[in-house]
């Protein structure tokens, strides 16, 4: 019997995975906090953080402490959560839709968010009482609602749901372009464009608190349903035959991904590529079993996004490149390598 050895390897693997993840993420976050136009030493960063938790009482210049705590640490942690959330959503949607091209924005969520955002930026809907984030969030959920209606609550099968998502994305993109071209000026168009490509510029601690709640809750629900996701390997009917309540799982998981994606988009814009590529990379390493794949996706996505954010800040001096540009530029060559190595050997 292989059982005890396998179980042991599973537990050992989990511990190893957690340790590796914490070390990698800790290192990435510390780097992200140290690096910037105003450079701070790594040692100072660590001391400032331990100071904050009351573990040490080192003497650090107030300006450095303020940059670390008020600006960079929250930004790095939001980046980590956004990466984790997007990668998780990508993995879930790839499984539910049984489509390797599925990603968090496949259900039109980012298009809806952009429409909501331009309604606030350009049309001034809400008259200042409504923030850009709230507009984007409302737009994202409107798009999700359209997809849900078009695909009968996501019960009409994967391809139908994807087509509904494509239709919703086209509709909301057209609306966005219409609003920008008819009512916006050049500066507003530029603002919208920049926002769409993503930026961690304005995020602060309240964003972190909201996002950690959403992502952790989402991850917990997804892990709870990970076994059921495995059962979708051979399609919906097969999952039903294996005892999975297909309609309920589908609806809950679509709602969870919409919630996570909408929250992230409304905070930092539509950061592409992470949700598509990280699940493939993680699957290549840990295999397709979702109880392993989902935490791996969250971990890899988190570290990747923090590193991408560092690159976006240092690649051009005195200027921040949109994070979506970095994730694609860094991610594509890496993804090409995985595709090349996993090509069918004929």
């Amino acid at each position: 019997m292989t059982t005890p050895r396998e179980a042991e390897r599973g537990a050992g693997g989990l511990v190893l995975f957690l340790v590796l993840f914490i070390v990698a993420l800790g290192f990435a976050v510390a780097l992200a906090t140290a690096i910037g136009d105003y450079s701070i030493g790594l040692g100072t960063v660590v001391l400032a953080i331990t100071n904050g938790f009351g573990l040490t009482d080192a003497d650090i210049p107030p300006i450095q402490e303020s940059v670390i705590w008020d600006l960079r640490l929250s930004r790095a942690l939001v980046a980590a959560l956004a990466g984790a959330g997007l990668a998780l959503c990508g993995a879930i949607l790839q499984a539910l839709l049984r489509n390797a091209l599925a990603e968090p924005f496949v259900l039109g969520v980012s298009a809806g968010a952009s429409t909501g955002a331009v309604c606030v930026i350009v049309l001034g809907i809400g008259a200042g009482g409504l923030s850009l984030s709230m507009g984007a969030f409302a737009g994202a959920f409107a798009a999700f609602a359209v997809v849900a209606v078009l695909s009968n609550g996501a019960t009409s099968g994967p391809n139908h749901t994807i087509l509904a998502g494509v239709a919703a994305a086209q509709l909301f993109n057209a609306l966005t372009s219409y609003i920008v071209t008819t009512s916006g000026n050049a500066q507003q168009a530029r603002d919208v464009m920049f926002w769409l490509l993503g930026s961690f510029g304005g995020v602060r601690w309240p964003d972190f608190q909201l996002l950690i709640g959403v992502v952790v809750l989402g991850l917990a629900i997804c892990l709870w349903m990970a076994r059921a996701l495995d059962a979708f390997t051979f399609g919906d009917e097969d999952a039903a035959a294996l005892g999975v309540p297909v309609a309920r799982i589908r609806l809950v998981l679509f709602a969870v991904t919409a919630m996570i994606t909408a929250t992230i988009v409304s905070m930092v814009g539509a950061i592409g590529f992470v949700g598509l590529v990280v699940p493939h990379a993680a699957r290549y390493v840990v295999g397709p079993t979702h109880l392993r794949l989902l935490p791996a996706c969250a971990a890899v996505g988190a570290v990747f996004m923090v590193l991408a954010d560092i690159v976006s800040r240092i690649v051009v001096t005195q200027q921040t490149v949109p994070i979506g540009v970095v994730t694609a530029l860094v991610g594509v060559p890496f993804f090409a390598l995985i595709l090349y190595r996993s090509r069918p050997k004929t």
């Binding site: 059982t3 049984r98 709870w224 399609g235 035959a241 397709p288």
Partner: protein
């Protein structure tokens, strides 16, 4: 191990696909379901296994109304092998068979020795134990079908439904799979196209035509010239397979 279906009616929109079908299957029996394309075989299988809910009528499995049993509890008693279920995911034979334990496992619980035993036994039953590490994508059609059956067996069901399990297989593998199904210690209901294979391996045969059940009984009692002409619109000669008491059909080319 028994199924009792009474007055099943099902359809899509205005079209009625299954018309008032009643039948009962006893424990350990191998029941063949035959009929022309579109006669409602697949739909009836899905109604009997609880994958679809009938418009009216009811199905009882092991004495319990299927509509009142949860999906999960049903999957512990009933397994369903679809025709040509495919995947793009990179999984091994063992991964696929392990899926069969889904209804027996909790959301986060570990892999028990009962799970391991069921998977090993299922792999051995379809003679794929030696190839459990092989990648699904590298299997031939017959091997994939055998792995699907192993996955169904890993569910430890008392009743097994198979929708045209011999599709796209060569004659050797067709016979091998049906012999295996017949010899299993479960009640099985098999939709089949090949009338001679149905006659060879089934204890009883149900004939469907335009959604209705037109005949039901042992192969020798059901398969005759008149029925083949009426249901399948063919001219054929039915002879007895020497010594077995089972009928054999010879198609006339006219």
């Amino acid at each position: 191990m028994t199924i009792v279906a009474s007055n099943l009616i099902w359809g899509v929109g205005p079209k009625t696909i299954v018309r008032d079908v009643s039948l009962s299957v006893c424990g350990g029996e191998t029941l063949g379901l035959i009929g022309p394309n579109g006669s409602g075989k697949s739909s009836l299988l899905r109604l009997l296994s609880g994958l679809k809910r009938p418009r009216s009528g009811r199905v009882e499995i092991n004495g319990r109304d299927v509509a009142r049993v949860s999906r999960r509890n049903l999957a512990r008693e009933v397994a369903f092998v679809q025709q040509n279920a495919a995947t793009d995911t990179n999984v091994s034979v063992r991964d696929v068979v392990r899926l069969g334990r889904t209804p027996h496992r909790s959301a986060l619980g570990g892999w028990s020795s009962a799970d391991e035993a069921a998977v090993s036994a299922a792999l051995a039953q379809v003679d794929m134990h030696g190839r459990r590490a092989q990648a699904w994508q590298t299997l031939s059609g017959g091997e994939r079908q055998r792995v699907h059956i192993a996955r169904a067996l890993a569910q430890s069901p008392t009743i097994l439904f198979l929708d045209e399990p011999t599709n796209h297989l060569d004659i050797h593998h067709q016979i091998e799979i049906l012999r295996m199904v017949r010899d299993l210690d479960v009640t099985s209901i098999v939709a089949l196209h090949d009338l001679n294979l149905a006659a060879m391996f089934c204890d009883r045969i149900v004939v469907m035509q335009e959604g209705a059940l037109v005949a039901c009984g042992p192969p020798a009692a059901v398969l005759n010239q008149a029925l083949l002409r009426q249901v399948f619109r063919i001219e054929a000669e039915v002879i007895e397979l020497s010594g077995s008491g089972r009928p054999h059909i010879r198609f006339c080319s006219l």
